[in-house]
């Protein structure tokens, strides 16, 4: 042990002073009395009732010297020189996702977590360092490693809860990288555990302490929302929505549909516990606007009780089909919704007057820069190499991809196909053992669906799945539909909008009415807005253009606010919620204060008896 301020030990000279005071105190006034007989009797009587009198006086002196010694020691600032000089590193991850807004804890889960984090800061030793991360749709470093408690408290205070989903993976990965070289590092996660599975996280020896907040789930939430043309009546729009009940018992609620803030329809709904009930509204749409679905029931989490979707009036899709003649394809394209189809045998323009191009086994003179469906033809910069395979068998297809919605590839035989390697810009929608048969992806802002085989050299055009696939492809490739889909984003995700013409500035009005100025690079081809943590309707103004977009939670995992006892980290194990104290709270200050009070009391008592 060494001392930072050994000079303070000179204060030890005060100890003899205390003893001297005691000696002075104890010095008695000598008095001659007639007889000490009565005094002896008096002392014998009183001492019999207070046997510890002498002892107590001695204790006073001992206590004083101990207190003085401690004070001097503290002044001398002793420390242990040794290996542990760096102190521990603690990473605090505050879950700021929508589910943390739940009010089952008072006032909310997030505030509770914040309070717990404050306690952790209080228990921090002087040499310890702490990092504060806020985890929501993306992870914010609120405070880099420091041992300054006021900065840490400020950082925790500045954290705000969002309406977005939880991506704990990102935060945990960041924590892992922060603690990689520090064996003593601990990660403290303050969360309700309502996060999508973290099975991908390879938790290798991360010392994670999971502080669970949340008491129970009493939540109704809108978990999906979509708007489509009504298949039975093209003039109407169908709004598909589903409401999930995470209450432990059956719940009744009203679901309201609003169009641009005007109530159109309301439906009463009864949802069994832990069930999800679909709700479909049919409504006429006179102009482009925003459909909002709202739940009126009271629950713990308000963020998922309302969701909005931007709905644009459908315009006819202009398709240019370049083919040597394919009636199956022509028919399939014509039946794919509102379509204006033009057929040509060759293509010479880079930008023909259409929304998308279909190349059916032809090599165009000029490759168009539009979205395209390319059948058994390819640009040289698309793939590395190509060969040919006879009769490839379809073994797998990606059912979740929008292209393969409602599509099965059973009973589809193919005579021959090109063989390529799946490039990085595309995903294989349909696979054979030798080659991907259908690829979809986006290359240089151009959406491309590529078929490795000629449809007429297969049985596919005879199957019901063919026109559905073509319709899906048209929908996926239609730039207007793509753009419409981009107008509804998950909260916390950045909003991107392609610029029709160069702009230098833009203004976004947030759902709460405040506005943000955006500076746009004049060479940029799109504008990006990232401050979308709050769900609701945003308005972006660029020049004369007004673009409305909506941010929604729409996440069943987030709406399921049941607090998890355990976080699952895939095959690398799990972590259970801790109920342990988060650190050894230092008590010596309080004990010392108590000792001081006792000492004062003793003095007061002593003087009361002898005054």
């Amino acid at each position: 042990m060494n001392f930072l301020a050994p000079a303070a030990l000179l204060f030890a000279a005060a100890i003899p002073v205390v003893i001297l005071f005691y000696l002075l105190k104890r010095k008695r006034v000598v008095r001659l009395v007639s007889s000490t007989l009565l005094w002896q009797k008096f002392l014998a009587e009183t001492q019999a009732s207070a046997p510890f009198q002498r002892l107590r006086h001695n204790w006073l002196l001992v206590l004083q010297i101990i207190m003085l010694t401690l004070a001097i020691l503290a002044l001398a600032r002793p420390y242990f020189a040794g290996k542990v000089t760096g102190g521990r590193l603690q990473v605090v991850i505050l879950d700021a996702s929508a589910s943390m807004q739940s009010t089952d804890e008072s006032p909310s889960r997030f505030e509770k977590a914040r309070g717990e984090a404050f306690k952790l800061v209080d228990s921090l030793r002087d040499t310890d360092q702490m990092v504060v991360l806020q985890a929501a749709a993306h992870t914010d470093v609120k405070q880099s490693a420091t041992s300054e408690k006021s900065a840490l408290r400020r950082a925790i205070q500045s954290a705000t809860v969002t309406d977005s989903t939880t991506r704990l993976n990102e935060a945990l990965k960041m924590a892992e990288s922060l603690t990689r070289d520090n064996n003593d590092a601990e990660v403290h996660l303050f969360s309700d555990g309502a996060a999508p599975g973290m099975k991908e996280l390879e938790n290798k020896g991360l010392r994670l302490v999971y502080h669970r907040v949340g008491l129970g789930a009493n939540n109704l939430g809108i978990v999906s929302l979509d708007v489509r043309p009504n298949p039975e009546n093209p003039d109407q729009r169908a709004i598909f929505s589903s409401v999930a009940n995470f209450f432990p018992d059956e719940q009744k609620t009203e679901v309201e549909l609003l169009f641009d803030g005007q109530l159109i329809e309301a439906k009463a709904l009864t949802i069994p516990p832990t069930n999800t009930t679909p709700v479909v509204f049919l409504a006429a749409q006179p102009h482009d606007g925003v459909f909002t679905v709202r739940l009126t029931a009271k629950d713990d989490l308000k963020a998922d009780n309302q969701a909005s979707i931007v709905s644009l009036l459908p315009l006819p899709v202009k398709i240019l089909l370049v083919t040597q003649g394919n009636r199956f394809l022509e028919k399939a394209l014509k039946s794919a919704g509102k379509v204006e189809l033009a057929v040509a045998s060759s293509l010479t323009e880079e930008k023909p007057d259409c929304d998308l191009v279909v190349l059916d086994d032809v090599v165009p003179g000029v490759w168009p820069s539009l979205n395209m469906l390319a059948i058994r033809t390819m640009n040289t910069n698309w793939f590395e190499s190509a060969g040919e395979v006879e009769g490839p068998a379809i073994v797998d297809w990606r059912a979740a991809h929008p292209l393969s919605r409602f599509v099965t590839f059973d009973n589809v035989q193919i005579a021959k196909a090109l063989t390529v390697k799946t490039p990085s810009w595309a995903v294989a929608v349909v696979d054979s053992p030798q080659t991907p048969l259908v690829l979809a992806g986006e290359l240089a802002r151009q959406r491309i669906v590529w078929l490795a085989f000629d449809t007429v050299e297969s049985t596919w055009p005879l199957r019901i799945s063919f026109p559905i696939f073509i319709a899906n492809a048209v929908d996926w490739l239609n730039p207007a539909a793509v753009q419409a889909r981009q107008l509804t984003i998950p909260a916390g995700n950045p909003f991107r909008n392609a610029l029709a013409e160069p702009a230098t500035s833009a203004q976004v009005t947030l759902p709460d009415g405040s506005s943000r100025e955006l500076v746009v690079d004049s060479t940029a081809r799109e504008v990006v807005f990232g401050e979308t943590e709050k769900a609701g309707i945003y308005r972006l103004a660029i020049g004369t253009n007004q673009i409305v977009f909506a941010a929604n939670l729409l996440d069943a995992a987030e709406s399921d606010t049941r607090p998890r006892e355990e976080l699952d980290f895939g095959k690398f194990g799990s972590v259970t919620a801790t109920t342990l104290r988060r650190a050894n709270l230092e008590l010596w200050r309080w004990i010392a204060a108590a000792g001081l009070i006792v000492l004062l009391f003793e003095w007061w008592y002593y003087h009361k008896r002898t005054a």
């Binding site: 008695r28 009395v33 007889s35 007989l37 008096f42």
Partner: protein, 303 residues
């Protein structure tokens, strides 16, 4: 200094005049062998008829009852009670501890001794004052205070008392025991002391009681002893023994001390009552008249 002036320093003339009216009351018959004015069991010459007895040859004819001889024709001798003196012994504590107090305890004790002695002298009783401890310097005065008799001796008696002083360490029990042994006849004993002897008071008083003395004990305490006014951390030194006692004393403990004194006095009082001893307690600042004219009279020490 004239005798009367000295006497008035001890007792005022007014008080002396009132004391003259009193006579010491003896519960028992006097046992002195010397003639006095006290009734005794002895038969002898006095005016008080006691009994008859048959005449035997040689009896004094003067005591024959001639009236009886006339009626019965037999000779009877009339017997009279002989009146004898009552020895009064005053044990006066003259130790160092009696020199304390404001007013001094010893002064008060001397006044009481003088008053009791004066009453005895007026009643033709024999008075002895035994101051203790011994003081060779005052041997003459102390010797003259033994066996004083007669009212005419009062002046000299007061002068001698005035010459006494307090000092030295007393052995209370030893003095009382010796006094009990030395007395040829038991009589009235008056003990004037503060009874603050480390050895206690039991053996001395027991010796007096056993010898047959009729005892009056007067405990004289100084106001300071009853109500201490010094506080703080004290080292007390006993004036007689030199013993030291460390005491931490404050107002808070005053009541406890008073209780201690009260207990001590109460123990002494009970001790005396059990043995038929008249007990009086007096602070040295109490009025002498109160003690002499009221308390002693009520207790029938004199009347």
């Amino acid at each position: 200094m004239t005798g009367y002036a000295m006497a008035s320093a001890l007792l005022t003339p007014e008080l002396l005049r009132r004391l003259e009216q009193f006579q010491l009351l003896a519960a028992r018959r006097a046992k002195s062998s010397l003639r006095g004015e006290r009734r005794s069991r002895a038969r002898g010459q006095s005016v008080e008829f006691a009994d008859y007895r048959n005449y035997v040859a040689g009896d004094d004819f003067r005591y024959l009852d001639w009236n009886l001889f006339g009626r019965l024709d037999r000779l009877f001798l009339k017997l009279y009670e002989e009146e004898r003196e009552l020895p009064v012994t005053i044990f006066l504590d003259a130790s160092e501890s009696m020199a304390f107090g404001e007013p001094r305890k010893f002064d008060f004790a001397r006044q009481v001794a003088a008053a009791v002695g004066y009453v005895a002298l007026c009643g033709f009783d024999r008075v002895s004052i035994l101051p203790f401890p011994d003081n060779p310097e005052e041997a003459a005065a102390r010797g003259a205070l033994r066996s004083v008799r007669g009212r005419k001796s009062a002046l000299q008696f007061f002068q001698n008392i005035n010459q006494l002083s307090a000092g030295g360490s007393a052995s209370f029990n030893e003095t009382l025991r010796r006094g009990a042994l030395q007395a040829r006849r038991a009589g009235l004993a008056v003990v004037l002391s503060d009874f603050l002897d480390p050895a206690g008071y039991d053996p001395g008083l027991t010796a007096l009681v056993g010898r047959g003395f009729q005892i009056s004990a007067v405990q004289i305490l100084a106001p300071e002893e009853l109500n201490p006014s010094t506080y703080g951390d004290l080292r007390l030194i006993d004036s007689e023994t030199g013993a030291q006692q460390e005491v931490t004393f404050g107002k808070y403990r005053l009541n406890a001390y008073r209780q201690t004194v009260e207990n001590f006095c109460q123990t002494l009082r009970e001790y005396c009552q059990k043995r038929g001893i008249n007990f009086f307690r007096a602070g040295s600042d109490t009025s002498l008249e109160q003690l002499l004219l009221k308390q002693l009279r009520e207790a029938e020490v004199w009347g």
